[in-house]
Amino acid sequence: MDLMEFDMPKTTPQPLPDSDYKEGKLRPVRGRVLKKLLKYEWKAMLPTLTISGIVLLALTLLMCIFVRVDLGAFGGEEYPATIAVGVILTILLYVYALIGVIVAPFIVACRRYEKNFFKDEGYLTFSIPASMEEHILAKHLSGMIAVLLAMAASLVSIVLLDTFSVTGDLDLGYIELDPIVPQHPVSVILGAIEDMILFAEGLVGAFAVSGALICWGQKFKKKSQMFWRVFIAYFVFIALETVFTLIGETGMTDFFYNTVAGEHVSTWLTILLYAGVIAFCVWYELRTLKKKLNLK
């Protein structure tokens, strides 16, 4: 059968002129690739954020109603059993929702990392003209922004709850200043900076470590191989932690815990350690995706 018998469109594509590539006319697009990658990450993240946001809002409203319930209306100081069960369940759900709203975008980001990079979709992901750095940055950045938004939503929810509270149990209306402030103002400012850096490192580190672990997991053909190595890694971690605790018991580290200067030194050492871990994880991700990628 002659294949040309089919009634197919006879358009003749004309490749873009060679000069466009040679003269670099296509280069301006490169600057927008990261933006486009972020756009698609956001599109994928939005349903999760929306759903978890709606659930949190609904539970916050329900909690707001509960915290304003006038106990006297029930003729006693305790809730009737049916109301009490409802309150306990709502509080439990609310706490889970507070955690879930932050964890959900993180899980979605990790799932997308594996699906887009290491499953069949990887063939398309890595055939688009974007560098590995751009791919990784888009994944991590979108995830971090989503988690930050989720944290902000949780904070708003707690503040709302406090505003509606009539019992005064929540005590979020003021911040009690540490008595150390008048004596060591510089130390307090430095401490605030350290906390911010540690928070940022924690956020970046969570994504960098997860990315590196997903990359590491791809090395194992069998899940059991990975399981045993993770198991061993966990015991190494516990052993190291025990060693550090024992060193602490000897009093060798008292300087770091009992003096203001020591606390700052130990915090900056932790900051440096985290920075090193993040740098290593990002290097490992790049190395895996650039040199060791092997889609099946």
């Binding site: 197919m8 490749p15 590539y21 990887g122 398309l124 560098s131 040199k291 889609l295």
Partner: protein
């Protein structure tokens, strides 16, 4: 004539297994359809993955349009993998927009025209399409780019004869004179009449390469017959 593909001493190891061994080849630009032929495990897919930047060579040099493999070469190479690489969560239209966003040379009008001819509802999610339709959609998206180099990895393997005809016809009717197309396959008899240039890979090495007509004249055999002779003992 300039070369669209150039490799020199290209070698790829998977742990201790050598998938490509010191491959040196040149594919001239605009030569037409290049058949990358070889039995399973001969290194065809490895060579394609190296060309598309999905793998990094263990050693050797590889260039497309005189550029080392990277972002710039990806912008001029349109690749159809043998796996289902489309995003199942997207609708057909969203997948089209994805291609339009990332590939400057993507012709959306042409893609839409081909999709409508195929009878696919653009609002449908890709995961709801049949396996055959997904493969056709991937082919349409690949061919809707005005790329300088098309690489199709086993485009007709594992599809029924009707789909095979559709795929071959789509390839032929959308093949531009200003581009080169590399098609990897082991179903030679179906497609050999369309090859302008062939490459035979055997155990990670190029054992035969050249213009199809010249080889046929020289050997006095069809490409399929020649293939069976070269790979008789595999």
């Amino acid at each position: 004539m300039a070369n669209i593909v150039e490799c020199n001493g290209l070698t790829k190891y998977y742990d201790s297994t050598c998938a490509l061994n010191q491959v040196t080849l040149e594919i001239p630009e605009n030569i037409g359809i290049v058949g990358l032929l070889g039995p399973n495990g001969s290194g065809k897919t490895t060579l394609i993955k190296l060309l598309t930047g999905l793998l990094t060579p263990s050693s050797g040099e590889l260039k497309i349009a005189d550029k080392a493999i990277g972002v710039e070469t990806k912008a001029i190479v349109s690749y159809l993998s043998d796996a289902h690489s489309l995003n199942n969560d997207y609708t057909v239209m969203q997948q089209l927009e994805y291609f339009e966003d990332f590939f400057l040379d993507f012709d959306k009008t042409k893609a839409l025209q081909m999709i409508r001819e195929l009878g696919v509802d653009e609002t449908k999610k890709i995961k709801t399409l049949s396996k055959g339709t997904k493969e056709k959609l991937a082919l349409i998206l690949t061919l809707s780019r005005n790329a300088r180099l098309f690489i199709l990895d086993e485009p007709i393997a594992g599809v029924d004869p009707a789909a095979r005809d559709y795929i071959l016809q789509t390839i032929l009717s959308h093949k531009s004179e200003n581009s080169t197309m590399i098609i990897s396959t082991h179903l030679i008899s179906e497609i050999e009449q369309y090859f302008d240039y062939i490459l035979f890979l055997k155990e990670g090495r190029i054992v035969l390469q050249g213009e199809t007509n010249a080889i046929k004249e020289r050997e006095g055999k069809t490409i399929d017959e020649l293939f069976r002779e070269v790979f008789r003992w595999i």
